[in-house]
Symmetry: C2
Subunit: 379 residues, 2 copies
């Protein structure tokens, strides 16, 4: 039966978010919280196509607001790229590269720690995948030297690596992989969705051909928006024009993020640049947090000492508790929620992912105290 | 030279929109203004990935906020489709269909009045284009019977039409084209970016296979967000899963609009449904406006009497004025701006596009009076 207008109003006209208050530890969300500047800009540019007031035919050519300077000067400098394209996010950036520079049936060598959306983009582009495994331990470490035999065997058209991965937050030796890529003359794509906007990273330093970032994941932006940095040699291929429509680009379908997410990306940008300069503090905080949780009997997976705010912990102690707790597998989620802590997956008690990014030491101490209390009470 | 943090702050930290006040007549923008409900929801869900608080792995399966009901029930009902996918916008919806159901080299028959982004999507998908011309007059009328000989000659894999087009706002006989498509058993794609959210439209009534809408263009949403409606028979093809990742879809790259634009689309939806029920009033207003401008010596292009708010006018009288006016080709833009009227392209005086959608009769009378004054003063 069709919904009435009254039913639609009840359902949609007062959408509220549960987690607007509280301490957020979901790695997806800690780097994407809007700055005050972004919140203010969002008010100005909320309406559809409001960024296009002064458009002369090309999104990235708009000078009011200064999208042109942002894309042509400040973003490339920030990530050490020769050129940058705006995208709808990291996965769309990956697909854009795959589609633009490969043909269906081509081989791409990828890391075992990649995100599922990399597979989605690879399969959408019709590529064949060869996987470089991690070390199979709790550390899940990638050794980039392992790309070499697979390069020799499969003659890939592309190398792909995730830096850091979104599971355990490992930072593989991308500079060495950049050297390998250049030695074998194969383009290297670095998915840096959890790096760009959190920590210093430079395409030029790595020696990569492409580096991919996410606004909503790590650049204090609403979604969907992302950035794609590249070497000069790829610019013409990635920006090839639509036949019959000068100034419009095929791979971007003319324009990409024609809206508010781009405005939040720009408005947050000064703070994002500034905060990446304080990355050492974030790493120190993550290490301290990891130590606190390990002292409760949890075990941090991934590289140790850890070098990123995204961490996964084995939580056998909570799994034991869930067996006897009346709320069963939901107990951890509910207990955290009661203490105003959000972002640990509902129903998972064997392991959990946590990010300490941008959260104060004080708030993280509350998180630690809550875990300690649970272990003491039920463990 | 690298920008300093201070320079970045000056450039990006206080982004303001010029056209927040005033009367907006840009067809791109009149249907995309946020409702109050959308503005309120935007405050709640501004942060990156905030729609994902309760995600269990699939964007369109999230029940808080009720994205699942929106996508599975209310959107399909609204556009008479069996299934709906969320997209980043109309062009991304077109590419999604083209990529999913054709192969490079396939032929698609398209209308002469299509938007450039349709060409971008077609070329990105590697399709060959056969064009059905319009009548070549100022009316630019499409006769859908003209698809038949091209179908017979070229055996296309797809038929494509724009309803209405974004140049002169014509509404071709899509129902007849739906019959033709079914008779020749060729899937029909209707780009309804200027229809869905403004006027009643039903995929089922048309007999189309796909119907494509834009949130930021016509559904009172921020960009980028769109909707793609389809017949049941296409659902499995368009939602084929990523190998190795159950519940994730290849063509969407897992999830599409993971952010705030979707929230504004949902929050505005009750009003959007309601306003399409008042489409007759919008058409009457457009006709009145067209008559007023024609009485000043401007000539409305496209179908007459006009059946859509998007209109193009030949403006020879303004072109004559621009030749002698000190501001030359900028005079019209500047004169309108002085009167708080925004959205007529800077520098164009031979023709202009105007939309009367959602603008009050009172405000439109101010627009008419401004034009009249210019004609009287300089004409």
């Amino acid at each position: 039966m069709n919904s009435t207008i009254q039913e639609l109003q009840q359902r949609y006209a007062n959408l509220t978010r549960t987690y607007n208050q509280g301490i957020i530890v979901n790695p997806l969300q800690t780097g994407g919280r809007l700055t005050d500047a972004a919140k203010a800009a969002m008010q100005q540019f909320g309406d559809g196509y409001s960024v296009c007031d002064h458009c002369k035919g090309r999104l990235e050519g708009i000078s009011n607001p200064p999208i042109d300077t942002f894309v042509e000067k400040d973003l490339p400098q920030f990530i050490g790229a020769d050129a940058v394209k705006l995208t709808h996010g990291a996965r769309e950036g990956k697909y854009l590269v795959f589609h633009a520079i490969t043909k269906p049936g081509d081989v791409v060598v990828v890391d075992r720690n990649r995100h599922y959306s990399s597979d989605a983009a690879i399969q959408r582009a019709g590529l064949n995948v060869v996987k470089v495994d991690n070390d199979g331990t709790l550390e899940r470490k990638m050794n980039v030297e392992d790309y070499i035999p697979l390069i020799k065997q499969h003659r890939p058209k592309l190398l792909f690596i995730t830096y850091p991965d979104g599971s355990v937050g490992n930072l593989p030796d991308v500079k060495r992989l950049g050297d390998i890529a250049q030695e074998y003359e194969i383009p290297l794509v670095v998915n840096a969705a959890y790096a760009i906007g959190r920590m210093p990273i430079s395409l030029q330093d790595i020696g990569a051909d492409f580096v991919i970032g996410s606004g909503h994941k790590s650049m204090a932006s609403m979604g969907p928006v992302g950035v794609l940095g590249m070497k000069e040699k790829w610019r013409d291929i990635l920006t090839r024009p639509v036949e019959g429509h000068k100034g419009k680009e095929i791979e971007c379908l003319g324009c990409t993020v024609r809206g508010t997410p781009l405005i939040t990306l720009m408005a947050s940008f000064p703070e994002v640049v500034e905060r990446t300069g304080r990355w050492d503090e974030e790493v120190a905080k993550a290490r301290w947090f990891s130590g606190e949780l390990e002292s409760l009997g949890l075990e941090q997976m991934g590289e140790k000492p850890h070098a990123h705010d995204l961490m996964m912990f084995q939580t056998d102690v909570f799994y034991q508790i869930s067996g006897k707790h009346p709320q069963k597998r939901a107990f951890l989620y509910e207990a955290l929620k009661e203490n105003g802590i959000f972002g640990v997956k509902h129903g998972l008690t064997k392991s959990m992912k946590i990010s300490t990014y941008g959260t104060s030491r004080e708030d993280l101490e509350k998180v630690v105290a809550t875990f300690k209390d649970l272990v003491n009470r039920y463990g």
